[in-house]
Subunit: 144 residues, 2 copies
Amino acid sequence: MFSKACEYGIRASIFIAKNSYDGKRVSPKKISEEINSPQAFTAKILQVLVKHDIIKSVKGAYGGFEIDKKHIATIKLSQIVEAIDGDNIYKSCGLGLKKCNDKHPCPVHDKFISIREGLKTMLENTNLEELALDIKTGVSFLKT
Amino acid sequence: MFSKACEYGIRASIFIAKNSYDGKRVSPKKISEEINSPQAFTAKILQVLVKHDIIKSVKGAYGGFEIDKKHIATIKLSQIVEAIDGDNIYKSCGLGLKKCNDKHPCPVHDKFISIREGLKTMLENTNLEELALDIKTGVSFLKT
DNA sequence: TTTAAATAGGATAAATTTGTCCGAAATAAA
DNA sequence: TTTATTTCGGACAAATTTATCCTATTTAAA
């Protein structure tokens, strides 16, 4: 469904959000430990999220990654997915046709539209706040 | 969503089904031309489909790939996807956790279940017959 | 039985994704 | 201002996926 990079990016974002509620910045080392991901690779993905203004980085001593508290509830999963994987998952044809639309549909065009709309709607209606909160209360987990 | 191999596999299966209704066997060359896919790679995927008894191959002169007419309506997309990509798309965690279940869920566990159930149901309820028919009547297409 | 035609399958290569390493640049605190 | 700490960014490496090529094997027809 998503690339590894995107999975790590979502998990990292949730972890950063949770810590930002506690006023704590976190390092790639800490993040990768807590979400169980390769550190250097995760650091690369964090750079992408910074470039897309989804998370904030602070260099130097006592630096790290954070998200403005006010911002957390406004960040949707769709933004993270699009920043890392692009919008292919919504837009590209389920059977890989370069051009697939209502006028020139692949054999599963209609059937896929509803699936993808469902996914899109879900990602657009899920924000980091609720996900971070579930981590905080121990309802859900970021690693096995 | 699916791998390239799986996209080619589905498109190839539909094309073979359509031709089998006309009593015609088709070669990897013809298939790859008609679904616009790399020939040798497509041939490899056909071998996988043969191994899984989804399509039939006939060697030698006047050979090629076909599907028993009686069989076409019973082949579901889910069988093709599982043969090529496995059942990860249904079963594996949306955020990549090795172990993700109701007792130990990832943050998007519940939200993903409905999406994936929808996909699974769709794949399990779509058979090659209806897809091949749409190609035959020019309602849908296998290449751009 | 011979031959031509077709799939099967192994070896290999290219492209993409995933992952690592290390020095440069920035920054807060001493 | 200096120093320690931290992210940034480029180069590189490994793994996986995608793709190609060539020979062996099979098989139906002549």
